[in-house]
């Protein structure tokens, strides 16, 4: 099956810093989503981005489907950005998401 690798596995930032999270995947996909899992376990949709670039406030994402990777940018990080960020992909012909192992982000005040 498809492999989804996220890096780095852990990241500690000071409030106000910027960061880039990466997601590599091993096969062609027709769906790629970024999620933020908060401390209560809720998975919050950040981006649906099978290709191209999107921005939402301090967050933006870029997917280069031909090179099989996606990047999530967090600018001016805040303590509320802490949690685990997941990349998940859906392989063509399959209806469900395959998740990466996540990046655990801790933003310190």
């Amino acid at each position: 099956g498809i492999q989804v690798e996220q890096s780095p596995p852990d990241l500690i930032l000071q409030e106000g810093a910027n960061s880039t999270l990466r997601c590599n995947f091993s096969d062609s996909v027709n769906n790629l989503q970024w999620f933020h899992q908060n401390p209560w376990g809720q998975l919050i949709n950040l981006f649906y981005i099978p290709s191209g670039t999107k921005q939402n406030g301090r967050l933006s994402a870029t997917t280069v489907a031909t090179e099989r990777y996606s990047l999530l940018y967090i600018s001016s990080s805040q303590t509320t950005d802490s949690g685990v960020y997941f990349c998940a992909v859906e392989v063509i012909g399959r209806r469900a998401l395959t998740f990466g192992s996540g990046t655990r982000l801790q933003v310190q005040p």
């Binding site: 376990g41 949709n45 997941f86 469900a96 192992s101 655990r104």
Partner: protein, 110 residues
């Protein structure tokens, strides 16, 4: 707008006991429905998905089963829980590829 509910929020069950977790979706019709499990650590694993009433696909052979008795209701069950069934169970709904997750049920098997 669409909302997804799961209950119970937390559950502690002894080994060998039965299990029933429920998920319902509001504000949409004929959604795709999914059950995922997140064990200690980070990764989410797909357990079951359904594209319609009575249509269930299983991803991982185990002692769990799923049913979809109504269009917007998805149930995860077990006849006898194992210690390894402990984890965080998440239901999701989707259409046109994007998926949205419920608040989850944290299950501890003792």
């Amino acid at each position: 707008s669409q909302t997804i509910h799961q209950w119970p929020a937390t559950l502690v069950q002894p080994v060998g006991s039965p299990l029933s977790l429920e998920c319902t979706v509001e504000g949409t019709s004929n959604p795709n429905l999914y059950w995922y499990r997140q064990a200690a650590g980070r990764g989410l694993q797909l357990l079951f998905y359904s594209v319609g009433i009575g249509q269930i696909s299983s991803e991982v052979p185990q002692n769990l089963s799923a049913s979809r008795p109504q269009d917007r209701q998805f149930i995860l069950s077990s006849k006898k829980l194992l210690l390894s069934d402990s984890g965080f169970y998440l239901c999701a709904w989707g259409r046109d590829y994007e998926q949205y997750f419920g608040p989850g049920t944290r299950l501890t098997v003792t």
